[in-house]
């Protein structure tokens, strides 16, 4: 008896709408097929029609959660093409916003993981804390989502003493709360038991399928662009690459929690050692014919922009590779031999964007051809019902 379950294409949680067609036998997923392209915006073509400055705001709109990541990746590449370098203070502020963005993205993801695992108070706690960092970002940039901090040659806003104090206070609050809530999560055996062993991706598979970011690091692959290919300030900043070796959703949670503490450390370092001076230099209008490959560690993994200039004020070619695309082949492997009930959790584990959780899933009965529409909340309830009876996972321990 075989069933096919189509999920998507209307799938608001993912950055791009995506269609996943799962072939299942009973409760077990035998194969998954991914179809993209429902929301292809032709952004690379559009970028060829716009000037270097206009493209900053275009790339910022690639994603809503990691908007600063794409803009920074683009800007640091174009600065190399134009042979300018941002002043030290400008660079520090730019990457301070990067780290604050990582904190907000990881806190958001943790909440979603808690929600999908049926631990809703954890979700409410982390999202309440996320407001602290969102307020800091709003204070620095004036916006909660599209910060528009970057410009060619530096950043658009400076920090003053009062803001620096507020950032340090906010980070202190966040660190304390994080420690407390992670202690809570670690001492909640149902939470650990729900995440352990779900969505297995071995180290060899992660390497073969070129997985990136926390997904790869949770499978024991110590790859982090900030360390491997240190862009701008990351040469000066002391931090560690966080990995886990459990290769499952629990590992992905652990990696993100460790990274939160690293990000607090980096942000504090950047704020405390903020050099004096200007925040921006004047950038030319045109760039000489050249090419550059810009890499950036976004919250979800490596961002890559390949930019080619032709001497005019517009790029010849802008190639964008977002981390989620790199993780799709690995997702297929994670889903394979898993349970239908774990789909929400495995989805949530690759992509922290899964916040609009109310959506429907159609289940096709292959024998009768009958379609039944299941709300995502019901799927989650079924998942939690199933895992409640699992005794073999009861012995899983929190690895932090």
């Amino acid at each position: 008896m075989k069933f096919q379950i189509p999920i998507g294409p209307q799938h608001p949680a993912l950055k791009e709408p995506i269609s996943l067609r799962m072939t299942v036998e009973g409760e077990v997923i035998k194969d998954a097929d991914i179809r993209l392209g429902y929301n292809h915006r032709g952004l690379e073509k559009l970028a060829e029609e716009k000037t270097w400055i206009q493209n900053i705001y275009l790339t910022e709109r690639i994603c809503g959660i990691c908007s600063h990541s794409h803009a920074t990746c683009y800007v640091q590449g174009v600065e190399k093409l134009m042979e300018i370098e941002p002043p030290k203070r400008g660079a520090y502020i730019r990457y301070l916003v990067s780290e604050l963005e990582r904190i907000h993205s990881h806190l958001l993801w943790l909440g979603v993981a808690g929600h999908e695992a049926g631990f809703d108070s954890f979700f409410m706690y982390t999202w309440r804390d996320r407001e602290v960092v969102m307020d800091l970002l709003e204070m620095i940039s004036g916006n909660r989502v599209h910060y528009a901090m970057n410009t060619l040659g530096g950043v658009r806003r400076d920090l003053d003493e009062g803001q620096i104090k507020k950032i340090l206070d906010g980070l202190e609050i966040l660190r304390k709360r994080s420690e407390y809530y992670f202690y809570l999560a670690a001492n909640e055996p149902t939470f650990v038991g729900r995440l352990a062993g779900v969505g297995y991706l071995s180290k060899e598979q992660a390497m073969e399928l070129c997985a990136v970011g926390p997904t790869a690091r949770a499978s024991g692959v110590p790859r982090d662009v900030r360390k491997d290919d240190p862009h701008a300030v990351y040469d000066d900043v002391p931090f560690e690459v966080c990995t886990a070796d459990t290769c499952d959703v629990l590992g992905r949670a652990v990696v993100r929690i460790k990274e939160l503490f690293e990000s607090y450390k980096i942000s504090e370092f950047l704020v405390r050692n903020l050099p004096a001076g200007p925040v921006t230099v004047r950038a030319p209008k045109r760039a000489k014919p050249n090419e550059v490959l810009s890499r950036y560690e976004a919250p979800r993994g490596e961002n890559m922009h390949y930019i080619k200039s032709n001497g005019s004020d517009k790029p010849e070619r802008l190639k964008v590779r977002a981390p989620t695309l790199a993780n799709y082949p690995a997702t297929v492997v994670m889903l394979r031999n898993g349970f239908i009930a774990d789909i929400p959790l495995i989805f949530a584990a690759i992509d922290p964007c899964i916040c609009c959780a109310e959506r429907t899933v159609e289940i096709v009965n292959a024998r009768t051809g009958e379609l039944s529409v299941v709300r995502f909340s019901e799927l989650r309830a079924r998942a939690n019902d199933r895992s409640r009876n699992l005794s073999r996972k009861g012995k899983a321990v929190w690895p932090l």
């Binding site: 993209l36 392209g37 429902y38 292809h40 032709g42 690379e44 073509k45 190399k80 390497m207 073969e208 399928l209 070129c210 997985a211 790859r223 662009v225 491997d228 290919d229 050249n290 550059v292 490959l293 890499r295 490596e302 890559m304 390949y306 080619k308 010849e316 070619r317 190639k319 590779r321 695309l325 790199a326 799709y328 082949p329 690995a330």
Partner: protein, 157 residues
């Protein structure tokens, strides 16, 4: 591995196959190879140098030919392989037997530039819609979008 070590190793490994090695910036190495050698070079890099991570594949329309740049990442920077194929006969060998994770980038290349990737395990379109007209390759420089006339099912009332 530093840039100098990598360049030295590549010179020894692929004596006749690599046409040019450039190091335009720290931690950036660009190789130029013939299109027919691409699979052999990628395989050699993975086996001998341990470079397993294909970050993406970029296509560039140069007019009479297409440039394809394979971007690889390793633990101390990135390595890029550049190759050029004629526009009249755009064929390239798939690298998926060596690096299975590159299949999405090759499918994207097929959709966007009309480059035919030979022996690709899954040749279906990836990013263009199901009803996309054949022979339209958006990232070619001569491609212009013309919005098709709107058809209202059942006609206007």
């Amino acid at each position: 591995m530093t840039d100098v070590e990598i360049i030295e190793k590549i010179k020894n490994l692929f004596a006749g196959k690599v046409l040019d090695i450039a190091n335009p910036a720290p931690r950036r190495v660009f190789l130029t190879v013939e299109p027919r050698n691409i699979e052999a070079v990628v395989e050699g890099l993975k086996k001998e140098l341990g470079i397993w991570y294909c970050a993406t594949i970029s296509g560039v329309d140069l007019g009479s030919e297409f440039e394809i740049v394979y971007h690889f990442g390793h633990d101390r920077g990135s390595l890029n392989i550049r190759t050029k194929i004629p526009r009249a006969n755009p064929h390239i060998e798939s690298i998926t037997p060596v690096i299975p994770g590159a299949v999405f980038y090759e499918r994207e290349l097929q959709d966007m530039f009309g480059i035919v990737v030979d022996h690709i395990p899954d040749p279906r379109p990836l990013v263009v819609p199901d009803d996309w007209p054949a022979g339209n390759f958006p990232l070619r420089k001569d491609w212009k979008y013309e919005r098709p006339p709107e058809v209202i099912p059942g006609g206007k009332t």
